[in-house]
Subunit: 217 residues, 2 copies
């Protein structure tokens, strides 16, 4: 069975998955980068995203690495793809340069139609304007039997959680207080939605948790 | 300088410090007891609360133990003292038997006047009807120069946080999802209130964080 997985999704102790005021200089919102201090040093991030050869191993890297395993397609919210709102800036091709770290089809939720963009290294950005179910169907279809990874951001994950479409959620709690930003839990009762923590392990930088759905209702 | 400290205050990953529907059978609300799986096995809990001689040492116990050091008085919200609402049940003397684990004056916030109750072992319960500032003043006055510990519950801690009266907050994140209950963070911007995480360490059961106020505004 193909799964929809959220991986390495990081929140502050007070529940924020991104800081406020995202823009070109702050792709993760103000102070949002502080969330990912567990992730940036890992071999997975250093190699897959920055193209370097070094990086840490250990618990943090194991989770980071696992997030890329058996993934045949991604889904991203529009804010994870771009700092622009409204009509698309057709010169914008994501934050990641000519060779993005996906290497599979990436489906971007948006209200604005745009032609698909073929990037180097196997990544193609597709723009989906007919909602989260349609995006998921397209992603599963194009994933060659592999899982689909839902990248974020917070609002997109909330939509898929409310629809009970996420099969497995790797949450990371970073030991910081953000105070404001995009809150994952606000008016969202994960227990009622059927989600439960089935595993947890902490590194010296973060607490990792695996949530899955306990029923299929 | 005397401090107002919150110690060993435990929340779920989704921000709940107690489960819903507190009553006589569920002093911590439904599933609230799951929050404290890091605390119950510790030597501190086993000895101070249950009067036993065994218990675990290690990170969890160090934090639990520290929470009782240099404490000259406690403040509790009424729900931490009693499952009853409205007019007091004068037969009720707390959840802890004849010799409660405080051994100092305990100030209980309530809207209903009641005579102080002297318990065994040095604990006296005082009922304060004139608000959180008055309770804090009384607690500091009676603490013999030591710190005051604010025990909870969630609503009481939120009131003191909003008033910027808490000097140090030991938060514990337990690896569970509660889904509903009493949320610590709802509409509370700890960053704007001046709180920041200055230290963190995880055990295999929980993540411990120390927050303090970065300014005195």
């Amino acid at each position: 069975m193909q799964k929809l997985r959220v991986e390495s999704f990081t929140i502050s102790v007070d529940g924020f998955g991104a800081g406020p005021l995202q823009n070109l200089e702050n792709p993760l919102g103000v102070r949002g980068g502080e969330l990912h201090q567990w992730f940036f040093p890992t071999k997975t991030f250093q190699q897959k995203v920055l193209g370097k050869s070094e990086g840490t191993s250990g618990v943090d890297n194991e989770f980071a690495e696992n997030g890329f395993k058996n993934i045949g397609a991604w889904i991203l919210g529009r804010n994870m793809f771009s700092p622009y709102r409204g009509e698309p800036n057709v010169n914008w091709k994501g934050w990641w340069g000519e060779n993005p770290p996906y290497h599979v089809p990436v489906f971007i939720l948006t209200h604005h139609k745009r032609e698909s963009i073929e990037m180097e290294g196997g990544t193609t950005f597709h723009f989906v304007t007919d909602g989260i179910n349609a995006a998921l169907e397209k992603a599963f279809d194009s994933a060659n039997g592999k899982d689909v990874r839902l990248g974020g951001g917070v609002n997109t994950i909330r939509q898929y959680l409310k629809a009970k479409l996420i099969d497995e959620l790797h949450l990371v709690v970073s030991p910081i207080i953000l105070g404001s930003g995009e809150n994952l839990y606000s008016n969202l009762d994960l227990t009622s939605l059927g989600y439960k923590c089935i595993k947890h392990i902490s590194s010296d930088k973060a607490m990792h948790l695996i949530l899955n759905k306990t029923d299929n209702t």
